[in-house]
Symmetry: C2
Subunit: 254 residues, 2 copies
Amino acid sequence: MAQPWVTRLFVPFGITAGASVDLGEAKAHRLRNVLRLGPGALVSAFNAVDGEWLCRISEIGRTRVSLVAERQLRAGEPEPNLWLVFAPIHRSRLDWMIEKATEFGVSALVPVVSARVQGPWLDAASTRKRLEAIAIAAAEQCERLSVPQIHPHSRIEEMLRRWESFRRLIVCDETGRGVPIAEALTDFAAETPAAILVGPEGGFADTELDALANLPFVTRVSLGPRVLRAETAALAALAAYQAIAGDWRRTRPR
Amino acid sequence: MAQPWVTRLFVPFGITAGASVDLGEAKAHRLRNVLRLGPGALVSAFNAVDGEWLCRISEIGRTRVSLVAERQLRAGEPEPNLWLVFAPIHRSRLDWMIEKATEFGVSALVPVVSARVQGPWLDAASTRKRLEAIAIAAAEQCERLSVPQIHPHSRIEEMLRRWESFRRLIVCDETGRGVPIAEALTDFAAETPAAILVGPEGGFADTELDALANLPFVTRVSLGPRVLRAETAALAALAAYQAIAGDWRRTRPR
């Protein structure tokens, strides 16, 4: 919950010692007008490949900023291989789910369309851009090095056809017929690549649940006696996964 | 995620066979103008003592509604004894936390003021009323029988002085010095009365953390390598508790 001591900026590539890093208008606005930083001020720039670097602002104008990378603060490090697969939900709940999933460490956000969903969806470039901005802001805030990748959406049948079977698919089954989640996760090897799947507000159709149940990589889990909203179920399952089988099992003193 | 087949209404007391239940203006507005229900329509009324009853609307006007309880759908049942103790956070994040904590089954919401918090807080009747309305709406939606009780706020020293030591206090320690949460929870007896404590956005002061560490009922836990916002930490810890030591360990087919 503590704020990092310098502003963290996600920069997708090209941060190395002495390199000049150029950023566009949105970051120029934020650094200059919101944070009131000028030439000489320190920020950090990060991505999963280059790690995190302390940088100094060399030039700042209305439409661009240049940083010079001075010193590496953190090397790249392994991050969770954990996806969140979700059907569309109401905008404010979706935004919140994206922020929290990023804080919880998901590596990919995978939208799917199932029977009880009106499609097409997430086609609008503006929606995608909004979700990317939320994920980047959350990654900057929570001290991750990576930002979750947002996949293009697909129909559920299509997604399952292309599924790589090494990745366990944990289906949040709101009918209560799944195994309690903690029990289901005890047979997962530590940090097995996994994905959490939550349905739309109306739930999955019975035919979809039956098709899922027959797949060898699927585990249907229950999340207790109350009826959880889609975004609540997603976060509940992600938290349980990270606590029991994921990277919350390790400690890292700050 | 499925909607119940009738609208559920939290009615704090007095639901028994044949009893007439009178509700006020807010519920009259919702039933009449939002849901377009008239005399003869069915709804359900519930609380933790009386259970849940199928009721028929006998009269409905602009300012009041009368229901007649016809048949008990569910008897009262044991619910989790799990508190969320939280310091004030930004309004929209607080509202989310209250909704999600209710879905996760908390029995009490306990606001505390710690060193890095500007007080007084939550004194305004309007704030309290807003949080109560959020908790009631979430309880109606998630098929709980109870609604979490909102305690008056107190300073953290005062709260700890009055603490009943049978209740385990799980402190989300953002310094990373706690035990990984799944490990910490393995020595909890099933459904031990517990409370999750999250600090304000600036975290607890070191003196507060030291004082907490010395109390026999306290367990300091860590929630992984990322820096979680206060409300994210609260929901993460509640989900882990419910999955590992709480009522998500049981199944209840619907």
